[in-house]
Symmetry: C2
Subunit: 461 residues, 2 copies
């Protein structure tokens, strides 16, 4: 009997996790695994690019978890610089093009199982100058390389980062480390639209303290170019910001052109819709994972596009397990994210105020100041925890944390509690690790939970 | 109508949290609050004593969260150096003695509600020399002061710590910081009997690397004294360890002599038994909290003596709420604890192997090596996570973590998951905070959970 064939489009986290897991469960005689990647790398950490640019990490090698040759040695046939250009679900085949002009040209490959792991691409608003040399996204290692070429090959004194989300603030830190004067332009009311504005304000204040010029309410209308065609700054409706380098940190959109053309189901964000086993809805032999899919948000009950390497890895493993003959599901997410700008740690999980209101929830909010360690212990740092709890039931709906060392990963307490559907009373009663070097006697998350308990009660009386 | 009277025995975390919370809920006209403390301090952090001794924290002032005068200013009548010597439950009264010989002598006080918060006392095995000058426990601020007097008033070159539990290892670090040569003598197979021996071995190896001489299987039989009556070392069955200072780190036992004499119900450890509202079982008007009670361990279903400041604070708050006319319960614990020796972080939650076996659970264990941050990110440190999962169901039963920076508080993930009754499959699927400076793409706890999932499956096949 001929081996079944698993074809994978996209050689990063989701695709190659799926390949690796399927390989673990199936012999080469039973399953042939073929992965197409249009870039030069496999299984890399795109999240590490800001630290590579900032010079904290040697790239790109260090960011590659598994090279193509490693995968090949394990029986996964990886084809680099090979782009899938059409999916034919009825014929169970994929058309690929070798990007090397001396290569194989175009060719159809049949599949028994197809994995779509095409990732995401940076938002690139259409405006004059957006494609000028010196304007960079930071989604792939190839993007990172190009950005570093600009940094190293040009005199970059001033850099503008457009967008103050996770990538934007991380890139601001990286460019500060590179000695640039950095301006971050954010369209919204505050940086970090993944936080409520009152928490975003804390981030803005901290960024200013770090020498990062954070401008809000700034809608970029044009990338200005010089006579040499290179970028010389950006313009908003009201001002101009000279710069030799522009980084786009406007977030990403699912890379699902192929999927759409093949008639596969997409959600509101343009991400693929799957079932719990990560099978594309209505398509028995097609799976999808990573930054090209929408995931179930367990608190809102909606599907959302939340591109994160940790989800991609988990989803890839689920796909590989199922294709390899096992059984696994991806139950969804609770919207956890953590980041830092210099020594400021920023985290969230669950729903923001606007997100909770949008799905019909009524809630109370509290904000509590606390410290990372016992107040008297050396190195203790202030921390602000905001919490949302459902009215009447007291169910935890979300938490946001801004602080210094020890702040970020505390969000995990709330993330697990959210997943379990705990009330803020239950959170306040949790048995968390306590010792003076690690926490005050009430963990900061519990200080907030206690306030939330009182707020829920007050809202009912 | 005369005010009701709340009488509190013991002025530390549980007692004064109860007092403060009851005060918040009841006016002075409704509730008189009277607290008796036999020492000199109220509301202090006994857990901070090792850091005071080590010179990292200024004591004792910094360790006092609220002074007697602060409490008095809020309408709580605190009597220091006043020891309760008899409880008369039938007569609803307490006999107290003023320890100041020029003071009030003995006197009965009636109560409407009594709170027993008498804490714990260090285990002090009966053996020759145990009461010699230079032998110290570290349970109260007065103990800490006495120990520092020895350190500062005597030439202490060599110190022996008897017992390698949390207090023992923390005191070992403190004495190293003070420039002593430190030997820790542990009766058991490994230090940290709160961990399984295989994890305790990691602690021993790290302690040795820090220059702490950790001797296991060492049963102390005698404290040796010199001609001046002061300590000059300790002897085990096989050896002698010269020292000018001996610290007892053998753990503590509930201080419940008064309660036993009054016929109140005690558990196997000698701790008071309460209901979920922290009322002493069978006694409508008597409450108890803190280090003198046994708590429900939610994983084993047994009551256990787990003396920790964080539990004392929570229990005190529950008592104060109930006495103050509100309603609150303390649902129990899952056995979480965290500590450090120099830069080694040590944490556990749930059940050890022996504890799980003792309550009839069958389980698999796994141990996983991982890192605190993305492998390529600067400052990433190795971490070992051990996990116990129930056979057949895959329910998480316990986790132990030994590592460096970023290891200790990760135990909270497992603590919340345990409280929620999650399986290791569910833990592996959790949406935890991920970014390269904070975590690998699979959090170390999830790396262990994945191995546990596989082990549970393998055990069934």
């Amino acid at each position: 009997m001929a081996a079944r064939r698993m074809v994978i489009i996209g050689g990063d986290a989701a695709g190659m996790s799926a390949a690796s897991q399927a390989r673990r469960l199936s012999s080469r005689g039973d399953l042939e695994i073929l992965a197409f990647e249009r870039g030069h790398f496999t299984s890399y950490s795109a999240c590490g690019i800001p630290y590579w640019v900032g010079g904290e990490v040697d790239g790109p090698g260090a960011l590659v978890a598994r090279t193509p040759d490693t995968h090949r040695g394990r029986g996964i046939d990886v084809r680099l610089r090979t782009e899938a250009i059409e999916i034919d679900p009825a014929g169970q085949r994929v058309l690929v093009r070798d990007l090397d002009p001396r290569g194989d040209g175009e060719r159809w490959y049949g599949y028994d199982d197809l994995v779509i792991a095409t990732g995401a691409r940076p938002r690139r608003p259409s405006m004059p100058g957006i494609d000028a040399p010196g304007v960079h996204g930071v989604q792939t290692l190839d993007d990172g390389r190009a950005l570093l070429d600009t940094l190293e090959g040009t005199r970059v004194e001033r850099a503008v980062v457009v967008g103050a989300g996770y990538i934007g603030v991380e890139m601001a830190e990286a460019l500060i480390r590179r000695g640039c004067r950095v301006t971050v332009l954010e369209r919204g009311e505050q940086p970090m639209a993944t936080l409520d504005p009152d928490m975003g304000r804390l981030v803005r204040e901290a960024m200013t303290g770090m020498g990062i010029d954070a401008v809000t309410g700034a809608e970029v209308t044009e990338v200005m170019t010089g006579e040499d065609g290179r970028v010389r700054g950006v313009a908003t409706k009201v001002s101009e910001y000279p710069a030799e380098l522009v980084v786009l940190g406007l977030g990403v959109v699912p890379e699902t052109v192929l999927a759409r053309e093949a008639g596969l189901p997409l959600g509101e964000s343009g991400g693929l819709l799957t079932d719990l086993a990560m099978r594309v809805r209505g398509h028995e032999h097609i799976w999808a994972g990573g930054d090209c899919v929408e995931v179930l948000h367990q608190v809102s009950g909606r599907t959302r596009h939340i591109p994160l390497g940790t989800h991609a890895n988990k989803q890839g493993q689920v796909i590989g397990t199922n294709v390899g003959g096992g059984y696994a599901t991806f139950p969804g997410v609770v919207g956890t994210a953590v980041s830092k700008v210099c020594d400021l740690e920023i985290a969230r999980t669950g729903l923001l105020e606007a997100e909770a209101a949008a799905v019909g929830l009524r809630f109370v909010t509290v904000t509590a100041e606390s410290t990372s360690r016992a107040g008297y212990y050396p190195g203790t740092r202030p921390m602000t925890v905001k919490m949302l709890a459902e009215r009447r039931t007291g169910r935890l709906l979300g938490a946001q944390i801004v602080g210094r060392e020890g702040a970020g990963k505390r969000v995990d307490i709330a993330a697990v509690a959210l997943t379990a559907g705990m009330t803020v009373d239950q959170v306040a009663a949790l048995d968390l690790g306590y010792a003076p070097p690690f926490s005050p006697v009430w963990d900061p998350v519990q200080v907030a939970a206690r306030k939330a308990v009182a707020a829920v009660r007050a809202a009912e009386s």
